[in-house]
Amino acid sequence: MKQKKIGLVLLEIFGLLLAILWLSPFYLMLVNAFKTKREIFTNVLGIPEEFTFENFNRAFVELDFVNSFLNSLFISVVSVAIIILFSAMAGYALARNKSKLSNIIFYFFVGAMLIPFQSVMIPLVSIFGQAEMLNQASLIFMYLGFGCSLSIFLYHGAMTGISNSLDEAAKIDGANKFQTFWHIIFPLLKPISVTVGILNVIWIWNDFLLPSLVIGEANATIPLKMFYFFGQYTKQWHLALAGLTIAIIPVIIGYFFAQKQIIKGVSEGAVK
């Protein structure tokens, strides 16, 4: 028993050391973001001799952070809301129709998950470009197209736990199909909606390539703005690192408040 206890303590220490190693990139980013340009040349690993907030002020302005944050927020929230609603509707319809055709459509969506972005990217940009439709609204529509497959798959799976007798009861009470979905089924799908929302928000919030092709600098999201900013201040690490720190802060705050749901959502999304 005593031997087991010692083993556990050693494991505990090992775990903590590993955690420190895991966090060290963030430590290095943070301490150097507070240093002057000169100090970064002489002292990379230690904490700054004198903390300067100047880098953050400049990076905040250069990143046009309030605007980029709001752009990211707008795109992510609207896209995810649309993905949740329309994928839940589709998952419901496909699960309740047991026909062969319905099955084929379902597998069609599942199969579409295999298509890498690079094999549709060029014609996509070309088609939408020729229609002069490269804007925020199209970006949101594209997120629905790329995000619905996995989401429908998850909703379809969750529908097996919801009995058909609920639909029949609602029908007897005079509800039409949409009322049945909206008032009865959709609320019952809430746990899976949380999962779908989390998975899509992580992806869309961080996405760089698609917005870089579809929206201009005026509507730039955080990753896009970060890319321009970094290109402009290449090798000026004091500013770049302050900018990177600012860019991560919203994510860390979100993670702090919702870590349980996030980890659970990611786990369910992958395992199902």
Partner: protein, 286 residues
């Protein structure tokens, strides 16, 4: 709902419309144009398989494909080891296991582009400082050679995704009945034997899932490649996704880039399906 119900089709309209306009039509359109001299706006000539012949003759494309394959193999192996290792660590009875899970998972939430920039600083500045401090030559000049660029990408992706793979393994590890392990312990099985005969077979499905995810993640990597090495030095760390982007938008060879995109799709599909098929088969055998 039945096929002839209007409501069935109304419920499917938004997703079908977006999937068709965003994925299916561009894919068909692109497939057709990959057999022409398309410049992104119009095509004047049907040239058969010429683009497909050209792309395999191109040194740069072959190099990027080979680099991507090497990267995928190494990072898939490392990620599964790390992910399972971390999962085993945080499912023991240590007090900090929730804190550790939170920390290991954190890099997943941050975009690859941003993480690549952070690691660029670490590999270039922090590594050389650390190298000077402990007198290690090997820590100098990272990302300036193909070799260090490769390992830089491997380290970044392992660090970023190991927590994700850990979460998948945890889900399966926590489903293993405790009595099973206890019974084995009473019967005199040591920790290694318990892992080999009980834990490992029962987490085999997790292996299928995480292999699938790590292969497709690694193969399609773009953001980290762009922000960490930018494909350099001399395009030697350029992966397929980036090579396709460059052919299309820097060199303006749309039809050639599209044919590379189609080849990319075929490889991804074949690898994913074969791998899922074999893993599923193995699971049943166990």
């Amino acid at each position: 709902m039945r096929n002839r119900d209007l409501s069935f089709w109304l419920f499917l309209t938004p997703v079908l419309l977006s999937l068709f306009l965003v994925v299916i039509i561009p894919l068909l359109y692109g497939t057709v144009y990959s057999f022409t001299n398309w410049n992104g706006l119009k095509a004047t000539e049907f040239i058969g398989f010429q683009n497909y012949i050209d792309l395999f003759k191109e040194e740069e494309f072959r190099a990027s494909l080979w680099f991507t394959i090497k990267f995928t193999v190494v990072s898939v192996i490392l990620l599964n080891f790390l992910g399972l290792g971390l999962a085993l660590l945080v499912t023991t009875k240590i007090k900090t296991n929730n804190l550790l899970r939170t920390i290991f998972f954190m890099p997943n939430l941050i975009g690859g582009l941003i993480l690549g920039f952070i690691w660029q600083f670490i590999f270039i500045s922090a590594f050389s400082s650390l190298g000077e401090l402990i007198g290690a030559e090997g820590l100098q000049g990272w990302l300036s050679t193909t070799e260090t660029g490769f390992w830089g990408l491997v380290i970044l992706s392992s660090w970023q995704w190991a927590g994700y793979i850990m979460i998948i393994y945890i889900a399966y590890l926590e489903n293993i009945p405790g009595e099973l392990l206890e019974a084995a312990e009473i019967d005199g099985a040591n920790a290694f034997q318990r892992f080999k005969h009980i834990t490992f077979p029962l987490v085999a499905p997790a292996f299928t899932v995480s292999m699938f995810l790590t292969i497709s993640h690694s193969f399609k990597i773009y953001d980290q490649n762009l922000s960490l090495t930018g494909g350099g030095p001399f395009n030697s760390t350029q992966m397929v996704a980036m090579e396709i982007y460059k052919t299309a938008f820097s060199e303006n060879q749309m039809a050639l880039a599209q044919s590379k995109g189609i080849i990319f799709l075929i490889i991804v599909a074949v690898v994913s399906l074969t791998q899922t098929y074999f893993n599923k088969k193995r699971e049943v055998d166990l």
